[in-house]
């Protein structure tokens, strides 16, 4: 009896868009925006603040979307869309106590929709350059295990996949995970348990068949 909200990827009506853009491009706390030169300076300052924001979160968002979609190009495209939206609403988002939660929510919404549009629930196989990673003790074995993870994740419904990755890989709490996918903390706990059980069963099947 619960449904979760996702981001519409369609243009807003013009009047709303105009108000949003006006809100975004205007910093009420900056009186220097009255002149073009001052406006440019303010724009530079905003960009600098956004770059700092981007640097803080970019690695987590791109890797999260890569894990969600299994495809580097899709992850790149969705990451770009996520941060473009963040830039549009940066005045609001930067005032949030946890702007990262907003980013994960938008990224999740975009990923779920991208996965729905795909015929296959997960994208192309992971790249083979993991073999050359010096940080791995047994690259060949790790590659096999990575493939098990990828195949096991493929079995999970997209939302369950998001729950599991957000909790296990990025360490979000049940409350934070629930906030991202639109569930209460208790419901998120239950859904997370189910997702983990599904992943466990699928992962074991992969190991047995290997």
């Amino acid at each position: 009896m619960i449904w979760w909200t996702l981001a519409p990827n369609r243009p807003l009506p013009r009047d709303v868009l105009a108000r949003l853009l006006a809100t975004i491009s205007r910093d009420p706390s900056d009186p220097t925006q009255a002149t073009p030169r001052a406006s440019a300076q303010a724009s530079d300052a905003t960009q600098a603040r956004f770059e700092e924001f981007f640097t803080t979160y970019a690695s987590r968002i791109t890797s999260y979307l890569w894990r969600m979609t299994g495809d580097q190009q899709t992850a790149f495209d969705l990451s770009q869309e996520t941060f473009l939206r963040a830039w549009q609403h940066f005045a609001q988002i930067s005032a949030y106590p946890q702007p990262g939660a907003w980013l994960f929510r938008v990224a999740t919404n975009l990923a779920l929709n991208a996965l729905r549009r795909q015929a296959s629930p997960i994208g192309t196989p992971l790249v083979l350059d993991d073999l050359t990673d010096p940080g791995r003790s047994d690259p060949a074995q790790r590659l096999v295990e990575d493939d098990h993870v990828r195949q096991a994740l493929r079995v999970l419904p997209p939302r369950a996949r998001a729950l599991l990755i957000l909790r296990e890989v990025y360490g979000l709490s049940c409350a934070e995970v629930g906030q991202v996918v639109g569930l209460s903390p208790i419901a998120a706990k239950t859904a997370l348990f189910r997702a983990r059980e599904q992943f466990r069963a699928a992962y074991l099947r992969q190991e047995e068949s290997a």
């Binding site: 369609r10 949003l20 830039w87 919404n109 992971l126 348990f193």
Partner: protein, 491 residues
């Protein structure tokens, strides 16, 4: 990793260990469980297995694309339009919209409701369609909708062999009014009136935009036409939970506000989080008393929501949810204990909380929904490891927990089966969340489920209302169909 069975001598369940891992247990309980696990090979093995799965998930190393992404974001951001619309376009658009509104007022039939309010303004109606709708900036021509039925073939679960007779669900997909804008990361939220499922409310979250207020619209004909309500002043947060009274379709909660007249006026109800204008709890009324869950307590107001009193003093465990039986005003409360292992209890009162009787649900159940019907209760839920470690099951009890009926599920149905409603004839409806969402129906005295088929694309969630002949409502949070709903009479 080969561990499969979990055979703890103290019956600690995998779900408890998962709750421990996810920091969802009280501190004392967590400490006790950890101490036990140190000396329990089964629990230790299970926790190690969970650790291994977590490491496996973290293991694949993502490609580094941050630098390339920054340059791409910079480039795309520079391309985006940054100007306001020319005044001429704004006035032209406003003129067209106004003309359409006037025209619509003339063509849309008035739908009087007993005790309801008169819509202050009627806004452009949705166009029924069975294809993805492309949003346009300009207002679209408005005509009286002529719904296009979408026949959804009924599929029979092979294992059940239960033949279905009667008409199939015939879905009608409607697009919400084009001038009902939502904020960027939100689709509208919906609330359907259980007592008259032709009535539903929708709210956008424009209140998130500084200086704006969220907007609520209402339909009296299952989504074919929508009318605006009085804008709820002060609703500045997300209105992502609309609750319509179980008994009176004109009583509706949106965020921290309530309307007793179908959206004609709004007033704070005093529940929920005043900072974020949220109220996530269930809400129901019976014979002038309003019940709700607030701060983990079942509360009641008998003075039109001026004051609230807790009526759950006999219940010592945290309350998960409650249901009101519309036939007799009885209330069933579900609780989850903080003990080891946790127990799930149902508490039932027939007299507004003076006296309670309760029973325990199977320990492996993960959720439990009381369903009131004709003065009786049916309790249903999904369980893991009720019969085995790897098989999901959907279970129900019609005997206040004395006996349970179980339908094993497959892992493909790992999203769970959620009971939705019971029809007047005793038919049970449920949704199964797998790779797609299907509606399931269990006929009276039947032992096997029938599958009524998937929801029409791109719908993703289903609500079943059995009053007034019965209605199916389907919603989507899909980006491409975020402004659509689908409705169908129950076949």
């Amino acid at each position: 990793m080969t561990t499969r069975q979990h055979a703890c001598s103290l019956s600690v369940t995998p779900e408890q260990l998962a709750a421990l891992r996810d920091d969802m247990l009280p501190a004392a309980e967590a400490a006790r469980l950890r101490a036990h696990a140190m000396n329990c090979p089964a629990c230790r093995a299970r926790m190690a297995e969970d650790d291994l799965l977590g490491r496996a998930l973290r293991q694949p190393r993502p490609p580094d694309m941050v630098d390339a992404l920054w340059h791409s974001v910079l480039r795309e951001h520079a391309r985006q339009p940054r100007r306001s619309l020319p005044a001429r376009e704004v006035w032209l658009g406003a003129g067209i919209t106004l003309a359409l509104l006037v025209a619509l007022l003339l063509v849309v039939p008035r739908l009087p409701r007993a005790g309801g309010r008169h819509p202050s303004t009627t806004i452009s109606s949705g166009m029924p369609t069975n294809v993805a709708v492309t949003a346009t900036d300009a207002p679209t021509p408005v005509t009286t909708p002529t719904a296009t039925p979408i026949a959804i073939p009924i599929r029979i679960i092979t294992l059940s062999g239960l033949p279905l007779t009667g008409p199939h669900p015939t879905w009608q997909v409607y697009t919400l009014p084009t001038n009902f804008a939502t904020w960027d990361a939100n689709t509208p939220s919906f609330g359907v009136a259980p007592s008259d499922p032709a009535i539903a409310y929708a709210c956008n979250s424009l209140g998130l935009v500084p200086g704006q207020t969220s907007r609520v619209i209402v339909t009296y004909d299952r989504g074919a036409h929508w009318a605006s309500t009085t804008d709820p002043a002060g609703l500045t947060g997300e209105c992502d939970n609309i609750v319509v009274d179980d008994d009176d379709p004109n009583v509706v909660i949106v965020g921290n506000l309530i309307s007793f007249n179908g959206g004609g006026s709004w007033t704070p109800h005093g529940l929920g989080d005043p900072t974020y204008h949220h109220f996530y709890g269930h809400f129901a009324s019976w014979q002038g008393s309003f019940y709700a869950i607030n701060a983990n307590h079942l509360v009641v107001s008998r003075d039109h929501m001026h004051t609230w009193q807790a009526i759950d003093r006999s219940i010592t465990e945290p309350i998960a949810d409650f249901q009101l039986n519309p036939a007799n005003g009885a209330i069933a409360v579900t609780t989850t204990s903080t003990t080891t292992p946790p127990t799930y209890h149902v508490w039932v009162t027939q007299d507004g909380g003076q006296q309670w009787q309760h029973f325990a649900a199977p320990t492996a159940i993960t959720d439990l929904t009381p369903i009131g019907q004709q003065g009786q209760w049916r309790f249903c839920g999904t369980t893991l490891a009720y019969s085995s470690q790897t098989t999901l099951a959907f279970i129900c009890s019609d005997t206040m927990g004395k006996s349970w009926v179980e339908w094993p599920l497959t892992l493909d149905q790992g999203g769970g089966v959620d009971p939705i409603a019971v029809g007047n004839d005793g038919t049970l409806y449920a949704q199964a969340v797998a790779t797609q969402i299907d509606i399931y129906r269990l006929a009276p005295n039947a032992t096997r489920w029938a599958d009524l088929g998937p929801l029409p694309a791109p719908m993703e969630s289903i609500m079943v209302y059995t009053q007034g002949g019965g209605s199916l409502w389907a919603f989507t949070s899909n980006v491409q169909g975020g402004k659509q709903i689908a409705t169908a009479p129950i076949p």
